[in-house]
């Protein structure tokens, strides 16, 4: 379960001054559901997800993730989430096995438990062929699988994906999409951000449209269609976001 309550993040930027990257975002994401955070570049998706993962601390508001508060129980939050983004790279000089093993250890698992889980995960993700190969020698798809195994080693209840398919080829992206579905099927709580409409249409039970740090619209795909009177998600997105872009331009 993820419950975000009025999440705010304010940065001080030398050039732009005070920047409200996330401005009062609230939503709920339930177990067995995929919540899609849809937004353009710079909309505040990454900052929101980083706050949920306790990598960044909210300036205001809070969130409960897997039953723990991000402000007061950050460590427990991190122990119960799997976080995957394009900027969570692998240690190039470690092998795929060592990489996943390291994160198992950081999660406080015993080595024999880690070994069992790695064997199961590597079998399921078809990773045995390259398990001892150094991460910097892996193809993009192999790296992505290793990252997935890394996020799953401690069997977290909540999965957070920040644009996980960005820059991936079709096959690698499919692996990720398939994996996100599996997480839902295992009753995990899943949130993921993207600006690819088709992924949201295919995957999400619940959609939040974010722009300028604010959550502008929220609901199931059917809800959004009904409210906007439009069918295509891209059209709905534009309808929601456009008035705000116009306001910003005037300002």
């Amino acid at each position: 379960m993820i419950e975000a309550e009025n999440l705010c993040k304010v940065f001080q930027d030398k050039k732009r001054g005070t920047v409200r990257a996330v401005d009062g975002v609230s939503f709920v994401c339930k177990p067995g559901q995929i919540y899609g955070l849809l937004g353009a570049n710079g909309a505040g998706k990454t900052t929101t997800l980083r706050m949920l993962a306790t990598i960044l601390e909210p300036t205001n508001g809070t969130a409960r993730v897997a039953g723990f508060d991000v402000m007061t129980d950050a460590q427990k939050v991190r122990a119960n989430i799997g976080f995957l983004s394009t900027s969570t790279a692998l240690y190039g000089r470690l092998s795929a096995y060592e990489m996943v093993q390291y994160f198992g250890r950081l999660h406080g698992l015993e080595d024999d438990v880690i070994d069992q889980r790695i064997n199961a995960l590597f079998g399921r993700l078809e990773m045995n062929e390259f398990r001892d190969r150094r991460c910097d020698k892996l193809s993009t798809g192999m790296k992505q699988k290793t990252s997935i195994a890394r996020t799953l080693i401690h069997n977290p209840q909540v999965m957070i994906f920040d644009e996980p398919t960005l820059g991936l080829d079709v096959m690698a992206a499919r692996t990720i999409v398939q994996f996100i579905r599996e997480c839902r099927d295992q009753s995990k709580t899943v949130i993921f951000s993207t600006h690819v409409m088709s992924e949201v249409e295919k995957l999400c039970d619940h959609i939040g449209i974010i722009h300028g740090g604010k959550l502008l619209a929220e609901g199931t795909l059917a809800d959004l269609r009904q409210r906007s009177g439009l069918h295509d998600l891209e059209d709905i997105f534009v309808q929601v976001v456009e008035p705000h872009i116009a306001k910003e331009t005037v300002a």
Binding site: F11, Q12, A53, I55, L56, E57, Q75, K76, R78, A79, I81, F83, S85, S87, T88, A89, L90, Y91, G92, R93, L94, E98, Y102, F103, R105, L106, H107, G108, R150
Partner: protein
């Protein structure tokens, strides 16, 4: 604070760093290779140059008016010198290294000696040139002996006691222990290299584990783990410290071994043995290492903090390059002759360690200074570590764009 988390991070960073060629070179290869290169190379070179100069039969010109055949004959009796007849441009020939020296026997020299009148024999040489000095020293020594013999002969002829012109002897005796003698020469040299190598050994891992991680995008990955940031940075710090200490230890060991090897190789060659006539005891080595410990902590934490501020490997290198000068200067100051201790200096980090190690190698232990320096360096090191840990908790540092 969980020790096992820190150890997990440390173990991973160690494995990771040992697979990094740059870290391996700075941590292992440089300290092992540099001392044999410096010591054996330098001493072999010196021994060779000196040996060659000693072997050469120098050409020396005798400039004479022709009326003092006895003096000329006496000079020609010197063994190992090839005397040639005088030419007016002798000074130029010495400068051009065609001849090594010249002796000017003034007109009427023999007669003056016979009549107890004093005249001056001039030796011309090229100061600073080894071969010229060897030739002129040989002639000077011979002439001094001749002078003494002449005095003795004159005293004998007048039935006077030999001690009349030589009332007492003067003898200089060294009371400093052998390490004190060597300490004066190489005392500054040892800590200087240990300190510099300690810094260079820590440099690459410090950059790699911070700015390097930012550049490669792994910093966010590690931050998603449940391990608190303080423990992550302490694990990293331990790795950098390990690199600094391993480098220092290898440097000290390598230096000890290579000096011994150089000594063995040079055995029998007196001129080289004079250079190598010293010993550094295990106690001194242990003490130097002990004094370098807090400095290694200071370097590791300081480098970690500086490299953390950078976004990329390159940026970190550009921050750290000027730091090298900041460290090298006080370390070099320790090398300067005549730089001596006072209480205020004991509070200047790096310089104080360099100076106290120089004294330790020379066999002197100023316990009060050792205590002040160790304690003050520990304070600086703790402050640097505190800064590094604080920076690692700051979002604007970790996610600088």
């Amino acid at each position: 604070m969980s020790k096992s988390n820190i150890f997990t991070v440390y173990r991973k960073e160690l494995t990771d760093s040992l697979r990094d060629r740059r870290t391996l070179i700075s941590m292992v290869v440089v300290p092992i290779v540099i001392f044999p290169l410096i010591s054996i190379g330098m001493f072999t070179f010196i021994a060779k140059v000196v040996g060659k100069a000693m072997e050469e039969v120098p050409k020396v010109m005798i400039v004479s008016a022709g009326d003092s055949p006895r003096a000329v004959e006496d000079l020609k009796a010197i063994k190992g010198i090839d005397f040639i007849p005088g030419e007016p441009d002798y000074a130029q020939q010495i400068s051009d290294k065609k001849i090594r020296a010249a002796v000017d026997v003034p007109a009427g020299f023999d007669a003056a000696v016979d009549h107890d009148t004093k005249m001056t024999l001039k030796i011309y040489n090229y100061e600073g040139d080894l071969k010229s000095s060897i030739a002129s020293d040989k002639i000077e020594k011979y002439l001094k002996d001749l002078q003494t013999q002449t005095v003795q002969k004159r005293l004998q002829a007048r039935n006077l006691p030999p001690a009349l012109a030589d009332p007492f002897d003067v003898k200089k005796e060294n009371v400093a222990p052998p390490e004190k003698v060597s300490g004066a020469m190489i005392g500054g040299f040892l800590p200087y290299f240990v300190i510099i190598l300690c810094l260079t050994g820590a440099m690459y891992p410090a950059i790699d584990l911070t700015a390097g991680e930012k550049e490669r995008g792994t910093i966010e990955t590690i931050l998603t783990s449940p391990v608190p940031r303080t423990q992550i940075v302490l694990g990293k710090f331990l790795m950098v410290l390990t690199a600094a200490l391993v480098t220092a230890m290898l440097a000290i060991t390598s230096m000890g071994v290579s000096f011994h090897v150089a000594k063995a190789l040079m055995a029998g060659k007196t001129e080289a043995n004079n250079l190598l006539n010293f010993s550094i005891g295990l106690k001194a080595i242990g003490a130097v290492f002990f004094m370098v410990l807090p400095l290694a902590v200071l370097f590791s934490a300081g480098l970690l903090a500086i490299a953390l501020m950078a976004k990329s490997y390159k940026e970190a290198q550009s921050y750290i390059a000027p730091l090298m000068i900041v460290v090298v200067l006080p370390a070099v100051a320790g090398l300067m002759p005549g730089v001596e201790f006072n209480a205020r200096m004991a509070l200047v980090p790096i310089l104080s360690t360099s100076l106290v190690c120089k004294e330790i190698v020379a066999g002197t232990y100023h316990w009060n200074y050792i205590a002040i320096i160790f304690a003050s360096t520990c304070v600086y090191a703790s402050a640097a570590l505190f800064v590094a840990v604080s920076l690692f908790k700051r979002e604007d540092v970790l996610f600088r764009t």
